[in-house]
Symmetry: C2
């Protein structure tokens, strides 16, 4: 069966290895919205071996750390849902008190129209922060 | 400042240690909706030491495994948001194709009125599954 996360990168790739990738999601209201996508078509975290669960979370939390470093959001939201596309992926979302849905989840009721403008080089800054953090993590393993 | 997750258990406690607890959320549309709540008042995953991040995810994924064992849902949804209560907690939600919001997140638009009836001993079954899984995980550390 066709799967959008198997067939396409599903965003601008900011970091990748042979296990997973971090992409910049195309969400105009949410610049910096990242997705960490497992390369293999697997449905749930607990379908992965324990070591792979830890590897995937290491990348998810590197994405969180990169967003905090580059964007200093008021809160980070993490979610792995997969109801529509049952191929393991994590949403890593920088949230601000005045963003369109805050304090609701981005999937909830919209509260206001105040998209945060993305700086032109946001993807490059995030890619740099991710590479530094994931290189460092690998060295200390 | 007062915090609901510091001041109250915030649900029926199914499992706990000195680091975190698993509670059954009182969500009538979603029997089996679990929350894993860090005991300490900490805001983000990346505010925790790396070893504690791993410990918390071990409990989150034990909750996922317990729900799959006991309830066989169509999908598991995992999320750490904390926009309203910035005290680290994870939502672990069993989803069914005919539940009230599917395939939307539970925070999205409601699609239908079909709450799943909880069996009377659901909390006890989940508590048992959690205890077995978390005891096993500790032995193999």
């Amino acid at each position: 069966m066709s799967c959008a996360l198997c067939d396409t990168p599903a965003g601008a790739v900011l970091w990748q290895d042979d296990f997973c990738r971090v992409v910049s999601a195309d969400e105009p209201d949410y610049p910096g919205f990242l997705r960490v996508i497992l390369n293999a078509h697997i449905k749930e975290m607990t379908d992965l071996p324990v070591a792979d669960q830890a590897s995937l979370m290491r990348v998810v939390l590197a994405a969180e750390a990169a967003l905090r470093e580059v964007m200093a959001p008021d809160k980070i939201n993490l979610a792995s849902l997969g109801n529509v596309v049952p191929h393991l992926h994590w949403h890593v979302i920088p949230r601000y008190a005045d963003d369109p849905h805050f304090p609701n989840p981005v999937w909830g009721e919209k509260k206001r129209d105040t998209p945060h403008a993305a700086t032109g080089d946001l993807d490059a800054l995030l890619a740099g922060a991710l590479s530094r953090r994931l290189a460092r993590a690998r060295e200390t393993e």
